[in-house]
Symmetry: none
């Protein structure tokens, strides 16, 4: 009762955590299908197979639940993206790894990703703030990579902010397409990463035209 190592207590805690996760999983399914506003707490508890009261035993309400879902996704994305050292052995490979890891996170959390990509902005100020921080972070990372690339003579000098925004938008749209519009079980992460990077780096023109 007093020690965390107490068998009975730790088992109970493990059960609690498991139950919480079940509810989170159910919520992801529900939110990804109906969207935050259209989904009701009733939908979540039905999907989770619990009673009304139990839901509020594990979460403080609909909004905190959504916020936690969002937070988890954001953390995973942030963890997937690492600063690329422009003077490293193979910066392009590192870039590809970053993109590949993001692809993994997105397709490992399909429903969650759908929720975030589709309709999160505007849900409420706190949600907006969280998302803006995520996009700000990604923007920074990509801008940094662009500036480093230019500095090390790897890429052209471009309007870094606008191009970073474009790259992020490109990724989101591609993800959305493969998640929702023409769902793919799991795309070849290296293929997606390569296409994105190839498009981003080389553009569409024939080399001779450049």
């Amino acid at each position: 009762m007093t020690l965390a190592s107490d068998g009975r207590t730790s088992r109970a805690e493990a059960q609690r955590t498991a139950r919480r996760q079940e509810i989170l999983d159910a919520a992801v399914r529900v939110f990804s299908e109906h969207g935050y506003h259209t989904a009701s707490v009733s939908d979540v508890i039905d999907a989770a197979g619990i009673s009304r009261g139990t839901f509020y035993l594990y979460f403080d309400g609909k909004e905190p639940l959504f916020l936690e879902l969002l937070e988890r996704f954001i953390l995973r994305i942030r963890d997937a993206v690492r600063v690329v050292d422009p003077d490293g052995a193979n910066p392009t490979a590192e870039l590809l790894e970053n993109v590949g890891r993001v692809v993994d996170v997105v397709f490992d959390n399909r429903d969650l990703a759908v929720v975030v990509f589709r309709q999160s902005m505007g849900v409420n100020p706190e949600v907006d703030a969280k998302l803006l921080r995520l996009y700000g972070f990604l923007q920074e990372m990509v801008e940094g990579a662009l500036i480093n690339g230019a500095a090390s003579g790897l890429t052209r000098e471009v309007n870094a902010p606008i191009v970073a925004t474009a790259l992020i938008g490109a990724m989101k749209e591609i993800f959305y397409r493969y998640l929702v519009i023409e769902p793919v079980a799991r795309p070849d992460r290296t293929a997606v990463a390569h296409t994105l990077l190839d498009f981003g780096l080389r553009g569409l023109l024939l080399s001779s035209d450049a």
Copy 2:
């Protein structure tokens, strides 16, 4: 009442149309500020300065109103985009014109654009269908341009669907940035068009690397 040439009727109809437009304008303002779900019919009628009943005299409800708003935006976008003849005098200029016209539509209808970009997907199946048709159309146009470009030796051969999706996502994200995150009174349409196209066509690599 039966003849369009009836003076009384046509004047009444003109008034009706004007009133409808006022409501639509008010709705755009309200939806862009609060989002579809958070905005209430009360917000719209308050903004339009009409009574509850009058609203339902002009629209069948909140959702049909939103659908009409969406439809209008979609039509404007579709009108702005024209097929580029790859064998024409200056296909690149035509492409730039297309992008420039889209920029114009978006910034001529800022609020409406915000609503559409931010959180339309998932509002309801009919809305989704409309949006998917729009994106399908844009996708087709861009894919066509890519294939034509490659056929006429103008651009590299690329994975047309994925690159088209990427280009559309890039545009959306840039628009969203300039509409919401760091609002710009009205960006230089040719500058935006050039940046987008330059990025899309030439990529990031230095020419020498290509």
Copy 3:
């Protein structure tokens, strides 16, 4: 529509006021029977014969409704109590008039009085504040009368605050008895006033013992 004297508008407003009053009346009945906490908004709307929505069209909620009820009762009581001029022609008669008017207010608003006497303190801070202000006012009035009475040689010098409190408590208990415990259709206001005053002024001892 623009003028308050517009027949149509004023009729509508009269209807609105009437409806409001109906709801207030129903609420008084419900609160006096069940008490604030036990009574539900559903009870009120059932008693008023209106729909859920209509209730919230006229009142901002359960608490504001209760507060308004309370406020109305308090105002009536305050209006009934007037400062007694100790140098007036007949201060005792004025005192009797005061008590009589309070008796009238209480028995003209039986249910409301029951609500206030029985269980209002502790409902919530705002309610408590309102009631404390009422009792403070009554306390002041009675204390003033006691001090004036002593100054003008009419009454003995007494511990004014404690005796004022005692008098107020005595009245409340008597009211409560005749309202709830052994309800009287309408007590003889002068009899009640006289008994109270006689008891208050002369006490229980035989004159000879004084």
Copy 4:
């Protein structure tokens, strides 16, 4: 288990009783602070430092708990009040003793008294019945004293029921004042008793006016 003299059982029972008392004490604190309706069972178990289940092991619920609290207070008050023999040596002293003992009970059980005085009537029929029996008992005692007093030529003949009610109300209000509105650590019981009695017996008029 069957015999009270069984050591184990009696120790267990003592523990049980002690635990019960702890819960009762916690409940008094909680109810006096928040009121019956606003206080939750959770508040009580938190204050008592026990688990949810344990609470229901000792009490059948929130209402029975409250009823028991009330019952205990009522018993103490009833024990404090004894019939005054009008032909005894010093009936006035006995009266003073009665009032003094009630003052003691009230201030020895401040929180409990606050709960009872403030908002018990109307909690539910059973509670009301209990309170009405208490007030009936007090009313009887006071009425009896009044009648005896008149019979033995000690006091004036008064409308006994109404005056008894007034006296009870006066006491309650004074208690409430000293418990809640301007709390006094512990009033001088003889002073309070004397003031009450003096006011009750002699009234406010100057002796010469009597």
